[in-house]
Subunit: 203 residues, 2 copies
């Protein structure tokens, strides 16, 4: 299911840059550097893994940024837990107005406003890690321009880590990522039994 | 690669109990109940996902327990971040003495001492979630008796969530679990390039 960005020349340029970065990294080996991690697939644990990495960074005393590209108004446990931490810059897409809409233009506007926050973090090397939670969903829905997102990711500070979550990651994002994990469902008894998500584990 | 516990009669008994629990749950549907989640596979994100779920529980104000069945003396970011939280009961296997040993008896003793802590949590319904980080490694090495572990998991309070992480989960554990996610490696550029794990993301 390979799929290319809309602008093949920009894709080629990114891949050339990616190769140069990788060559440089291999030469330096064993040095610290920023990694782009993508957590995708249908299984459980993508967002929670991103938030666990956030906790790790915070445990080491670093400043981190979060943009949650989620739909809906419910307050999640991770929201409550992390957003008041002094080292966390926390944004939720569309917060402040109703997101449960069939209005695509409004969804696009909310996504673009959220990306302004993400780009600000991706331009600031004081953020050790930036978590772009459920960004893949927004890209899949084409609420954001993929090339713009990929360029911003590629042009971030060299030492900055980025974690992107959400099922159905776009292939061009996988191409520029350093580490990609696919979460597979081995078993999901509750889903089959129609039992709701459990607060404090899944929400 | 199906594999059975050493005591088939106990396995059969557990599976009968599991079926009864599932029937009851389906009848109640839409009600809250404790889930047993297993996060396994070779991909990145298993432990971090467990710690993200921990953060969610804490965000909702719940008390949680952690037992880390890890080898080595380094202090992880999650350790630093979570262990002093007033709602977290945090134990690390073998902490306090050197774990880097070839002495199997000592490893077994450390694992058994850690399981005493785990069992205490699994007998106490004030713990909303118990994270048994890297337990699968210890089970794979046969440092703990599998049947004992499975029985303790099955006999925990009905509302308690448990998250078990680590690659190579044993099949009998998968059998009694509610939700199982397998993390697959799609890409791990750094590993191939011999670049070390990044503090604040992987450690």
């Amino acid at each position: 299911m390979r799929e290319n960005a809309k602008h093949p020349e920009r894709h080629a340029e990114r891949m050339r840059k990616k190769q140069a970065v990788m060559r440089e990294r291999i030469e330096r080996a064993d040095k610290d550097q920023g990694v782009l991690l993508v957590l995708t697939g249908p299984g459980k644990g993508k967002s929670s893994s991103g938030f666990g990495m956030l906790a790790r960074s915070l445990g080491h005393g670093y400043k981190v940024g979060v943009v949650q590209f989620i739909k809906g108004k419910f307050v999640t446990g991770e929201d409550r837990f992390f957003r008041d931490h002094p080292q966390v810059d926390y944004h939720v897409m569309g917060q402040g107005y109703t997101w449960d809409t069939q209005d695509r233009e409004r969804d696009v506007a909310a996504a673009e406003a959220a990306w302004v926050e993400a780009r600000r973090m991706l331009n600031d090397d004081s953020y050790h890690l930036v978590l772009l939670d459920e960004l893949n969903i927004v890209l899949r829905n084409e609420y954001l321009d993929l090339d713009t997102v990929l360029d911003d990711l590629m042009n971030r500070p060299a030492m900055q880590h980025v974690v992107v979550t959400g099922r159905n990651a776009k292939q061009p994002l996988i191409d520029i990522a350093d580490t990609v994990t696919e979460m597979q469902v081995v078993k999901h008894a509750f889903k089959d039994a129609g039992i709701r998500a459990q607060k404090g584990v899944e929400l």
